[in-house]
């Protein structure tokens, strides 16, 4: 297939954007990254995602693809050469999609909620839900990984990309709130998996550094404080 223009509208600090970057990198697809200011949406974003006006948006030739999970699956479909991101077996594929949706709908939103929570009781309630979710994901890792290094087995796959892209903000949240969420005692498989993922070259290249994200978090907090 001829290589056509590939552009990604996004921002460096957004995990939904990071997962698309991971997918592109795993498939060795060259692309142009166009940084979009999340507080001041550009015309190019509104033109390419008029319905939801959100990043990430993948622009492939003259076609725009929106919604990070849709984009990652599109990348897997449109570039069949190179490692598969989704499993080949239909049932394993259904499982991979299930856990990706679980991560996005049920687990990841809790991380931001925890950073924004006020009061000890509210924080503890969210921490309980987060840690319960990690226990559920530990079981998922055992089933999907089948004893190998990643959810995708020997190679990085869909759930690794989706859950792995949350690790940067998970780490920042642990520091800011002063709590260890990913724990070797409670979820040993997942804790080891996370270490493997963050030391993987592809993830290291894409995931934002903890220091930079912490600085961004502090900037956002200062902005919120000054405008209230």
């Amino acid at each position: 297939m001829a290589t056509r223009d590939v552009k990604l509208l996004g921002t460096w600090s957004c995990p939904y954007v990071n997962r698309v970057q991971l997918a592109l990198k795993l498939k060795s697809i060259e692309y142009k990254f166009i940084e979009d200011n999340p507080y001041n949406r550009s015309d190019i974003l509104v033109k390419n995602n008029p319905v939801l006006k959100k990043i990430p948006v993948l622009i492939h030739g003259n076609k725009s693809v929106c919604e990070s999970l849709v984009i990652v699956q599109y990348i897997d479909d449109a570039w069949p050469i190179g490692p598969s991101l989704l499993p080949s077996d239909a049932y394993d594929r259904a499982l991979a999609r299930f856990w990706a949706t679980y991560t996005d709908d049920n687990w990841y939103p809790l991380i931001k909620m925890l950073r924004q929570a006020e009061g000890k009781e509210e924080k503890e309630a969210i921490i309980a839900k987060l840690t319960q979710g990690l226990i559920v994901l530990e079981d998922a890792f055992v089933i999907c990984g089948k004893g190998k290094d990643y959810f995708g087995g020997e190679n990085i796959g869909y759930i690794d990309i989706v859950l792995g892209s949350s690790l940067a903000w998970l780490r920042v949240t642990e520091i800011v709130v002063g709590v260890q969420l990913l724990d070797h005692t409670r979820t040993p498989g997942l804790a080891k998996w996370a270490e493997r993922v963050i030391s993987n070259d592809v993830f290291k290249d894409v995931l934002p550094e903890t220091k930079k994200l912490l600085e961004l978090h502090e900037k956002i907090q200062a902005f919120i404080k000054s405008s209230t």
């Binding site: 492939h60 919604e67 259904a94």
Partner: protein, 231 residues
Amino acid sequence: MAPSDVKVQLLGSWASPFSIRVQMGLKLKSVEHEFIEENFYSNKSDRLLKANPIHKKIPVLIHSQKPICESLLILEYIDEVWTDGPSILPSDPYERATARFWTTYIDQTWFPIMKELEKAANDEAKATVIGKVIEGLVLLEAAFVKCSKGKSFFGGDNVGYIDIVLGSYFGWIKVLESVGGLKLLDGTRTPGLAGWAERFLSHNVVKDVFPEPSKLLEFYMMVKAARVSSA
């Protein structure tokens, strides 16, 4: 072993659009299955809790004793396993992405607005919600024009993913229209969708799958009364 030799069960409910859409998918592919009515509203069965321990919700497709949960994922699974017969999703990667985008929009953005209609406390609130629902329908009209390319369905000549997902809400659209005294699918405002709706409702895939409007309205009234009495 051919997929047709293996037992297929669907844990679902006659009133749930999420369950109805899976029935449509199975019907489209002529998959023989056992339909097991679950009381999703109260007292969930042990069978359901075992099949879907995470979300405890219907529908759940059980194929070769393996459960598959979440209606959109079940439809994709059905499409990938039963490859004889019409496709549910398009084969082109960009058209597949477009279909997935719109089904996600319908389920996560548009239908939740419809549900707000019954919570609207006064006429002003109701008008605001109706405005948002119609905005969504106008977007879906444009999507229909683009995806159908002048043919009868979002899937083109044949019923496909978006048709099934949006179409599965018809029962509830009619209930909300009759309870709210309004018309949502309007031939003037969204002519493409209005024509599509008529064609879809007379398609074979919906026969025997859609609940009777009066039965659904009765169910809606019962659920509403139960909510009020337990509040």
